[in-house]
């Protein structure tokens, strides 16, 4: 009897009717999962992935990727966490609990998750202001990201940085000036080479930033000095309100490094990103110098929360990407169709994620703002305390490092 029940539920939940069965199956599914043996799933599967366009490279990344069940679940959970965290930020911004600049990453999750999957925690990452995804993948908990956005003392920068200035070990932000992070990333790579620790630096920038002069200065020095720097252009087709066609004489961002070899990668496929990044890090660690990687991706939100994002692109276009190329859906379908996970299991992960985001938001809205004493702190590093002037000569703040 039990076997029949199991078989019936198994058929129901694996089929396309899973959605409708979900409600009925919810309580049953808990029983199901509890009693179902994880040996029922495949431990791994091999996937065909899109071939990368190559520039000055004889060979590129592999066109097949092996993904284990654990990896898949991890990528899924991470991407879903970022997705929900960004949507929660949208909500909090509209409630005016987050203020100032807020540049959301939803749609681009496969980029940061795929990249993190290919590098080590001892490698380095620097990006621009659309940084919440990377802040998370580099190790900052959701509650500290949200609390930084809401400007509370529990934020990862104690509320002093905000959306564009979040940091953690081996993650250098979060940078507000378009393009300025690129030379910084090459400098981090120079330090990696200097110390001889076989580490690399992922230096990210957008399609808009790709036209900054300092990036070309940096390409030159990185190539000249063979710095272990991987230049990564997250091409989401729009630099604020300007489409790539209107901003760039050449939209082949992976070729812009000219003498630096490049790859163009499907940035909506987490495995594609991972394999390309594995290829790139291997290349760099071998001492061959820098590489340029273009990740073709898409952002669902406008440039920032002040931009509805529909004056320069159509709702149809956004909808099309959502329905055909969503990175989370792509991964989910792959996992379910290859018996790496069940839809129910993934839904359970969704529930866990939602809970984590709610808790994070709760913390971010209830944690107190930093005390006024914090205003003068951290002007300098490793410095004896001194006084900082306030709005008039009688108001002084102590500055402690």
């Amino acid at each position: 009897m039990r076997k029949m029940l199991l078989a019936a539920l198994s058929r129901v939940l694996q089929g396309p009717a899973a959605a409708t069965a979900a409600a009925a199956g919810r309580t049953a599914s808990r029983v199901m999962v509890a009693s179902r043996n994880y040996a029922d799933f495949a431990s791994e599967a091999t996937f065909e992935i899109k071939k990368c366009d190559l520039h000055r490279l004889e060979e590129g990344p592999s066109t097949t990727a092996v993904m284990t069940r654990e990896e898949g679940l991890h990528y899924y959970k991470t991407m879903q966490t970022i997705r929900r965290m960004e949507l929660k930020s949208d909500q909090l911004y509209k409630q005016k609990i987050i203020r100032g600049f807020c540049h959301l990453y939803d749609g681009q999750e496969a980029c940061c998750v795929g990249l993190e999957a290919a590098i080590k925690p001892t490698d380095h990452v620097i990006t621009a202001y659309r940084a919440h995804g990377f802040t998370y993948t580099r190790g900052v908990p959701v509650r500290e990201i949200l609390a930084e956005l809401t400007g509370r003392k529990g934020g990862c920068a104690k509320g002093k940085g905000g959306s564009m200035h979040m940091y953690t070990k081996n993650f250098y932000g979060g940078n507000g000036i378009v393009g300025a992070q690129v030379p910084l990333g090459a400098g981090i790579a120079l330090a990696c080479k200097y110390f001889g620790k076989n580490e690399v630096c992922l230096t990210l920038y957008g399609d808009g930033a790709a036209n900054q002069g300092q990036i070309f200065e940096t390409y030159n020095m990185a190539a000249l000095w063979k710095l272990p720097c991987i230049f990564i252009c997250e091409n989401n087709r729009y630099g604020m309100g300007t489409s790539v066609e209107r901003a760039a004489a050449s939209t082949d961002y992976y070729k812009r490094g000219d003498y630096i070899p490049g790859l163009r990668v499907d940035g909506m496929d987490v495995l594609c990103v991972r394999e390309a990044a594995k290829f790139a890090t291997e290349y760099c660690r071998a001492g061959k110098g820098p590489l340029v990687m273009e990740l073709q991706t898409y952002r669902y939100h406008g440039h920032s929360m002040s931009d509805p994002g529909i004056s320069y692109r159509t709702r149809e276009e956004i909808q099309e990407v959502r329905s055909k190329s969503d990175p989370i859906t792509l991964l989910k379908d792959r996992m379910v169709n290859n018996n790496l996970a069940s839809i129910e299991e993934l839904k359970e992960i969704d529930v866990t994620v939602r809970k984590e985001i709610e808790e994070g938001a709760q913390f971010a809205t209830t944690d107190p703002e930093p005390p006024l004493e914090e205003l003068g702190n951290h002007i300098y590093f490793n410095e004896p305390p001194f006084e900082v002037r306030g709005p008039n000569q009688w108001i002084r703040y102590k500055s402690v490092s």
């Binding site: 920068a157 200035h165 300025a180």
Partner: protein, 343 residues
């Protein structure tokens, strides 16, 4: 560096050292002391430095520690700042500070502000150095003084040496400091020899950042200056002494954080203040000193308004007669002193 022993063995073995050699010694000593220190900039390695400040260092330390860069200020400054974020200790040379304007975003937004924005998580132990201010006949685009521009920004330290002792001690202190330091040198001072005490010749000699030095004691008027004009102030003081006016000459040494306490104590004593700088008058170092004196305890001791002697409020012209009249000269300082003392 040869030490000439005096006839009396107990006398300190002071030597004459040019500012150039003092800076060179400082770089050499710090490169040797800490392997994380490195120098980068245009022509610093194989050319021995555009002004020969880094003479011999590439030969001694090699490509890893002394790096020639292409002409890419914004790029190489950003690279230097990035390296500092991972605890290297770069010395980033600008051939002159005029070219730092191309890279000023990296100095201010990437270097100065990062410790604060990250709530102390990321330090930027970097030194930006090079010649600042007027030279001789290099015209408008190569003669600007950046003391006020960099001095304006919290998160930076800004130093401005005058003597060889200042140069060596401040450069060593700047390199050892865990914060971004802008060191404003002066090209016309590079070849000038100054006496360096035995103490100053030591490998551990540092001049503390944020402390001014009283170069000459006086009772009638306080002259406050930084960089090359300190020498002009001392010359003016010598001339005025013959007329019975004793000037107290203060060498600021550091623009930010400014040692206003030393200036205040002096004004309390002399009751008169004249500031002297090479930069333009508006929003300048002298303007800041005057504002702070007004706000502090020394205001009640002033017997006359404070007076500023500055560069002329024009882009620097080329012709010698014009250029000479755009820079504060000894006669301008003497005139200002006499005006404020009403003599």
């Amino acid at each position: 560096l040869q030490q000439r022993r005096g006839i009396r063995l107990s006398a300190p073995a002071a030597v004459q050292v040019t500012v150039r050699d003092a800076l060179n010694q400082a770089l050499d000593e710090e490169l040797e002391r800490d392997e994380r220190v490195f120098l980068l900039g245009e022509e610093v390695a194989q050319y021995d430095g555009a002004y020969k400040i880094s003479r011999g260092l590439w030969k001694k330390y090699g490509d890893k520690r002394v790096i020639d860069t292409p002409i890419s200020e914004m790029g190489f400054t950003g690279i230097a700042v990035g390296a500092a974020m991972v605890w290297l200790r770069p010395v980033c040379e600008f051939m002159t500070f005029n070219f730092s304007m191309q890279a000023i975003d990296q100095v201010i937004n990437s270097a100065a502000k990062t410790c604060y924005m990250s709530a102390g998580a990321i330090a930027v132990p970097i030194v930006f150095r090079g010649p600042n201010g007027a030279s001789a006949g290099v015209a408008a685009q190569h003669s600007q003084c950046f003391a006020a521009w960099y001095g304006h920004c919290p998160g930076l330290k800004v130093v401005s040496p005058w003597s060889s002792e200042d140069a060596k001690g401040l450069l060593k202190a700047s390199i050892r400091d865990d914060n971004p330091v802008v060191m404003l040198e002066n090209e016309l001072l590079y070849g000038v020899p100054f006496e360096m005490s035995e103490q100053a010749q030591s490998k551990d000699f540092v001049v503390p950042i944020g402390k001014a030095k009283i170069e000459r004691q006086g009772t009638h008027v306080t002259l406050v200056s930084h960089s090359r004009p300190v020498g002009h102030c001392l010359e003016a003081a010598a001339v005025l002494a013959k007329e019975g006016v004793e000037c107290e000459v203060i060498n600021l040494r550091t623009i930010r954080p400014m040692d206003i306490e030393t200036v205040e104590a002096s004004v309390v004593k002399t009751n008169h203040l004249v500031t002297v700088e090479g930069g333009w008058p508006q929003f300048g170092v002298g303007a800041e000193i005057c504002a702070r004196i007004m706000e502090g305890s020394a205001f009640n001791y002033l017997d006359a308004p404070a007076v500023r002697v500055t560069g002329a409020d024009v882009p620097m012209p080329y012709a010698k007669i014009l250029e000479d009249n755009c820079i504060p000269q000894v006669k301008d300082i003497i005139f200002a002193v006499k005006k404020t003392l009403n003599i």
